[in-house]
C-alpha cells in the first residue's frame, strides 16, 4: 500500500516536471520570433567575440559579415512581436517584464542605441582586432541596458 502511494507520488512529480519543461517553450509565435532574433544576435556575436577574446584569429572578412548580419537583425521591425499578454506574468516561458509595455518609448530608444552600436561595429569589424574589441563594449552595453531594465533575472 505504501509502495503504491509512493509510486503515485513519483508519477505526480514526474508529471509536474514534464509540465515545467513544456512551459519552457512558448506556444506564442510572437515570443518564438523574438527569441529567434536573440539567437541570431548570439550566433553572430560568437564570431566577433571569439576574435575579441583571441580564441580565433582575426579575420576582417568574417568579422564584417557577422557585423553586417547584426546590423540587419537590428533593423527588423519587431512591433508585431510584442503583443499585449506576452510578458512574464501572463506567459512564464518569457522573461520579458510587464514594464516593457509601460515604457515603449524608452524601449524604442534602447533599441535605437543597439542599432547605433551595431553600425559602429560594422565600421570597426573590418579595421583591426583592437577596433573590434572596442566596439564589443558598446554593443554589449546596449544589450545590457535593455536586459537590466526589462528582463527578469534567471531563477
Amino acid at each position: 500500500m505504501m509502495k503504491k502511494s509512493s509510486i503515485f507520488a513519483a508519477g505526480l512529480l514526474s508529471l509536474a516536471v514534464v509540465g515545467t519543461s513544456i512551459a519552457q517553450d512558448s506556444e506564442n509565435p510572437a515570443v518564438k520570433a523574438r527569441t529567434s532574433i536573440m539567437q541570431l544576435y548570439a550566433f553572430n556575436l560568437g564570431t566577433l567575440g571569439a576574435m575579441a577574446k583571441g580564441e580565433a584569429e582575426y579575420d576582417a572578412e568574417a568579422a564584417t559579415r557577422a557585423a553586417n548580419n547584426i546590423v540587419v537583425v537590428s533593423q527588423i521591425d519587431q512591433s508585431a512581436m510584442w503583443p499585449a499578454g506576452s510578458d512574464n506574468v501572463s506567459d512564464p516561458s518569457t522573461r520579458a517584464l510587464p514594464a516593457i509595455w509601460e515604457n515603449f518609448a524608452d524601449v524604442g530608444a534602447k533599441g535605437q542605441a543597439l542599432a547605433d552600436a551595431a553600425v559602429a561595429m560594422q565600421a570597426a569589424a573590418g579595421q583591426d582586432v583592437e577596433a573590434l574589441k572596442g566596439a564589443m563594449g558598446q554593443l554589449g552595453g546596449a544589450c545590457s541596458a535593455c536586459h537590466k531594465a526589462y528582463r527578469a533575472p534567471e531563477n
Binding site: L45, H147, K148
Partner: protein
C-alpha cells in the same frame, strides 16, 4: 558583603570601559599619508575598480550623471533601509571638505570625521585592504568631480541596529583581516586579488552572510541569495564558474557571457565600471578567480 559588592561594581566598570575601548572607531595613522603625491589618473582607475558611482550616484542617473555622486539610492536589507549619502565634492552637502586622511578612515575603518561608525552597507570591510596610495589618489580624483547640494536622506533602521556604537562590536567580529585566497600566487593573481577582495568588493554580493550580516569567509565567492529577493547571485569558485580567463575578461568589458547572452541585474552597473579598467586588470581579475579554491 560590602567588599564583594564593591568588587562586582569594579568588575562591571572595567568590562564597560573595555567595551567602550573595543568598540571605539579605529583610525589610520596620519603619518602613512604624509608626503604622498596623489596621482589623479590612478585615482580614476581606483574609482572605477571600487565602483563608487554604482551606489553613490543619484537613482537612475544617466551615463554622464554617474559622476555626480549626489547619493539617494535606497538599499533595502533585513536590518532596515540604508540610503547612500552625498559624497560629491560639495564642501557642505558632500565630502569636499574631507582630507585624504578622513577618506582613509572612512574607507579603511568605516569611521566618519566626527568619529562615528558607518554601517557596513558601505563595504569598508573590503576597502580596509586598500593601499593608502590608492586612497590618496581616489581623494584627488573625487575632488575633480562635480558638486551636488542634495541633502542626505537619513537611513531607516530599527532598534537595536540604529545604535551606531554597536557597530564597533560588529566590526570586531566581522572585519576579517588578511587576504582570503593565499598561497603561491603569481603577480597577476596578486593584482587580481587586490581588485576582487579589496577594491571591487565582489564578495559583498557573491559570498553568503550570517544572521548578523557578516560575510561567511569560509564560503568565499560561493554565491548568495540576491538581497532584492529575485534569483540568486552566482558562485564564482572554480567549481562553479567554468568560463575561461578570456571569457571572464570579455564579460567584464562587454557583459557578454560565453553563450553571447548579456549581463542583467546589478551586474550591468558593475560592468559599466569594469569596462573602464585596463585589459591587464580585467585579465588579473580573471586569473585571480581561477585561483579561488573549490569549497
Amino acid at each position: 558583603m560590602r567588599r564583594i559588592l564593591l568588587f562586582a561594581v569594579l568588575v562591571m566598570l572595567m568590562v564597560g570601559l573595555a567595551g567602550l575601548l573595543l568598540t571605539r572607531p579605529q583610525r589610520v595613522d596620519p603619518a602613512r599619508l604624509a608626503g604622498l603625491t596623489p596621482d589623479v589618473t590612478r585615482g580614476a582607475s581606483v574609482f572605477y575598480s571600487a565602483g563608487c558611482a554604482s551606489c553613490h550616484s543619484a537613482p537612475d542617473a544617466s551615463e554622464e550623471g554617474k559622476l555626480i555622486l549626489a547619493g539617494g539610492r535606497r538599499f533595502e536589507t533585513d536590518f532596515g533601509t540604508f540610503v547612500a549619502p552625498n559624497i560629491s565634492s560639495d564642501p557642505d552637502a558632500g565630502i569636499g571638505s574631507w582630507s585624504a586622511l578622513d577618506l582613509a578612515n572612512a574607507l579603511k575603518h568605516g569611521k566618519g570625521p566626527r568619529g562615528q561608525h558607518y554601517y557596513p552597507a558601505f563595504p569598508y570591510t573590503s576597502y580596509a585592504k586598500m593601499t593608502v596610495e590608492d586612497v590618496a589618489a581616489l581623494h584627488a580624483f573625487l575632488n575633480t568631480l562635480p558638486a551636488s547640494d542634495a541633502a542626505n536622506i537619513p537611513h531607516d533602521i530599527g532598534f537595536p541596529f540604529n545604535i551606531r556604537r554597536g557597530l564597533g562590536l560588529w566590526k570586531l567580529l566581522f572585519s576579517g583581516s588578511g587576504w582570503v585566497v593565499e598561497g603561491d600566487l603569481t603577480d597577476q593573481q596578486i593584482r587580481g586579488r587586490y581588485l576582487v577582495e579589496a577594491l571591487g568588493h565582489c564578495a559583498e554580493c557573491h559570498t553568503p552572510r550570517n544572521g548578523l550580516g557578516g560575510l561567511k569567509r569560509g564560503l568565499w565567492l560561493t554565491g548568495a541569495p540576491n538581497p532584492n529577493g529575485k534569483g540568486r547571485i552566482p558562485g564564482l569558485t572554480t567549481a562553479q564558474l567554468d568560463w575561461s580567463e578570456a571569457d571572464i575578461a570579455e564579460y567584464l568589458i562587454s557583459g557578454f557571457t560565453p553563450d553571447y547572452d548579456s549581463a542583467g541585474g546589478e551586474m550591468v552597473e558593475v560592468i559599466e565600471n569594469t569596462s573602464k579598467l585596463s585589459d591587464e586588470d580585467r585579465l588579473a581579475i580573471a586569473a585571480y578567480l581561477k585561483s579561488v579554491p573549490v569549497q
